[in-house]
Symmetry: C2
Subunit: 333 residues, 2 copies
């Protein structure tokens, strides 16, 4: 058995047993799953060392867990349930096998938490950087909630504070490991974001959400995505956006722009959605029953009104798509 | 619209329209597909610049087409039909956008040829190397053919010559572009391998193949995979392995070891399988009717007899798993 197969063997041993849905798991040319009952959802996301994560301030288990979580979030944002995962790993020779095993442990643990079957994978050499590309298969028994159904007049809601992950990342970069004890909520939000996996249960009760998206690139970018897909504008009220005490404190203490964290930070993985005003009270109530505190942060407006933010002083300013750019063409830009 | 979205937009415009099976394609959090009728197959594979492909002697279109092909081959080797693809692209800043567009054109063209819907993708920065990770969803209406059903006495068959891709790669590396005109068959086999996508139609007629695998790592490695999964040994006769005239000529002309190319070369993407002797004549006949020339290259033997090769002189030698190692831990090995 050569080195590749030995490593694959050690890593796959960390994975929890698969569910009965899986007829044939890892170890053949392809995995075999029972036919799905609902519609099939498919998504892929890739995390690259030095771009999306950094071993200098993230534990390998945290990186693994987050890689699985951010993908699950995309399935959740369609109103679906993640089912099965394929893990494509690029392995840098600068990273020890112990680190890779711990990273895989994080992937395994997080897949277990959310009942995701890891059914296949691939390990290849990536000499300079570790890369983790995860593809997820999800299932959706209801009508999937796309980005394109927002209508003028709809309530815009958010499932939690935004900007915490960006603040957590800033703190880890500037204060190192100390940040974890100084601002545990913010660093945890960045390192191991909590995904709204159970939101599908809310949608099962109130299946009237007109559009839904998860905040990966930043609130302003996601509003632009919804605007482009739904062909609408947005009127957002800054003072309605939930802010945690830790976030305010961190912004004040380190003289950082709170709004910048909230709108351009990204990696929050909260849900941003829209719903008709008549259905909003019921959604809010059902969500509370499932542990989600939804906040109304503004309204959908006609396309021609564009995207506007009413700041805390009452002034209207244009909302730009200032989210995180995944490509850093630094040599050319 | 930032640079990432501009590039995604230009690349996705190259993709052919999706089929009716796709309810929601690229552009939302996840793609939505109609429920599948048969069993679901899932596989992922990743190609890395400098490890699996080289822009110095491969055209970008060829790299794209091959990336899609090698994944489709894994679905075919289960007895399935590839349906939908997710493309995760790592983009090096050293590679021009024109090159990326041509690579994507190859992906698009090959997906069209095999009626594969590209339903999602992801583009991230990979500063040093281009990486192409493709996940494929397939469908299987019959019982999938795994690696574990080979039984002592079974005929071992091969769908075509092996070693041609390895010879093609050797020629491209040593003779550069000239190799394409000197040995077009060999270089084509390496650059744009033909995948046995229609073999599923043969299986639909003769659904008795006991094990099946595609030759990606090399004939000896694949025989070891089947041996380990099926808990059997193999007796392979070297003179029964089909050899093309070009392959013999190239080995003679460049004083290369033909057996080494055949057994350790890899990237042939021919099918290697086993079937009971009583079913073999019918399989061979039906395959011929669908354009596949299957060759009997040996027999499955009991586990304790191990893996043996009878060479051209009639001598029995042990067959080692000398296939290609995808990981090159050169710094440590």
């Amino acid at each position: 058995m050569n080195r590749e197969f030995q490593l694959i063997d050690r890593l796959t041993k960390k994975l929890p047993p698969v569910s009965k849905r899986v007829l044939l798991g890892i170890g053949d040319d392809a995995a075999v799953l029972k036919p799905s009952s609902g519609k099939t959802l498919l998504t892929v996301d890739c995390l690259v060392e030095g771009i999306h994560f950094d071993f200098s301030f993230c534990e390998p288990e945290e990186i693994g867990a987050k890689a699985m979580a951010v993908n699950a979030s995309d399935i959740v944002a369609m109103g679906g349930k993640p089912i099965a995962a394929l893990i494509s790993l690029g392995v840098s020779s600068a990273v020890s096998e112990e680190t890779l095993e711990r990273l895989y442990q994080g992937l395994a643990d997080h897949s277990k938490t959310h009942s995701i079957d890891v059914v296949g994978g691939n390990i290849t050499s990536s000499p300079e950087r570790v890369m983790i590309s995860i593809s997820l298969l999800g299932e959706c028994s209801l009508e999937p909630v796309s980005r394109s159904g927002a209508k003028p007049g709809d309530v815009v809601f958010l499932s939690g504070p935004v900007g915490e992950a960006a603040a957590g990342l800033f703190l880890l970069k500037t204060k190192g490991q100390e940040a974890r004890t100084l601002f545990p909520k913010l660093t945890t939000h960045y390192l191991t974001p909590k995904i709204a996996v159970d939101f599908v249960n809310v949608l099962n009760r109130v299946n009237k959400v007109s559009s839904l998206i998860d905040i990966s690139d930043g609130l302003s970018s996601e509003l632009w995505h919804l605007a482009e897909s739904s062909k609408v504008g947005f009127f957002i009220e800054e003072d309605k956006i939930p802010v945690s005490q830790e976030l305010s404190e961190a912004a004040a203490k380190f003289r950082q722009n709170l709004r910048n964290w909230q709108f351009s930070g990204g990696e929050d993985y909260e849900l941003l959605g829209t719903i008709a005003p008549s259905d909003w009270p019921l959604l809010k109530k059902e969500a509370e029953g499932h542990g989600f505190i939804l906040s109304e942060i503004g309204r959908v407006v006609p396309l021609e009104r564009g995207l506007k933010l009413q700041d805390r002083s009452g002034k209207e300013i244009p909302l730009e798509a200032t989210g995180w750019n995944h490509l850093s063409f630094s040599e050319r830009d």
